[in-house]
């Protein structure tokens, strides 16, 4: 990995968590993605809650509130991760990011929110690989970039959790 690398690799994994080496450019991209959270909207969550149409109306409202609270909690956890100097150790090749299992879980949820929310803003294209039907514009290019980069980090974090 070059000094201003655009990559990420798993350095170590144990019960305390995972340590990743993240190139400087990759760190900028990761931070850019994390700062977007939340990307999914209340209306999106509302659509999802109406899918649970077996619930009485009052409970749909409770679900919406619970989802909002969950997002607030994740934002708080994210702030703690970003502020924790022990999590971000400078390295000549970039930064060593130490994530506990719980923090890794937070990261996965945030990156997934960025993917899903960006996809919703693109109009929910059915073919996520070809993005059929998406108009070409600065906005859609930017959203597609966010989906692809969030996917890249998400896959990296998921692989780090797998045994072997």
């Amino acid at each position: 990995m070059s000094k201003d690398g655009l990559g990420m690799k798993l350095l170590s994994r144990n019960h305390d968590g995972c340590t990743f080496l993240i190139g400087k450019k990759a760190r900028r991209i990761l931070l850019e993605l994390l700062q977007r959270y939340p990307v999914t909207t209340d209306s999106y969550q509302g659509e999802r809650s109406t899918a649970l149409n077996i619930l009485p109306d009052g409970e749909e409202q409770l679900l919406a509130e619970a989802l909002t609270q969950a997002r607030q909690q994740i934002r708080l956890e994210l702030k703690n991760i970003l502020r924790n100097e022990d999590s971000w150790a400078e390295d000549p090749r970039g930064v060593r990011l130490l994530l506990t299992p719980d923090q890794l879980e937070i990261m996965l949820q945030i990156l997934n929110d960025v993917r899903v929310g960006s996809w919703m803003r693109l109009g929910c294209p059915a073919d996520i690989e070809l993005m059929t039907g998406v108009q070409l514009s600065e906005a859609t290019i930017e959203l597609t970039w966010a989906i692809n980069m969030a996917t890249w980090f998400q896959v990296g974090f998921l692989k780090a959790q797998q045994p072997g």
């Binding site: 649970l52 077996i54 989802l67 969950a70 998921l158 797998q162």
Partner: protein, 101 residues
Amino acid sequence: MVATTKTKSTPKVDAQSKNQTDFDPSFLVICWNDPINLMEYVTHVFQRVFGWDQAKAKQHMLEVHHQGRSVVACECLEKAEHYAHTLQKYALHATLEKADV
């Protein structure tokens, strides 16, 4: 998850019938396919939410992927709601359905 699957319409349950069925293990939690969530992520979420090993979680993920949906739990209403809400928090598409008893 590649193909899109439309949500099956389910009739609403009024408050009285809800009380009667609160503790019957007769509600299915169904996870639906969508084009956006990664297969690896869905497997991971199933492991987290249901405590399954990777093989079982992957089996249900593949069922969602290939058949459009998978029944991931059959519980009383309260627990079924909890599971469905939890899956929604992970941005998966989950619904409840009354089981045929």
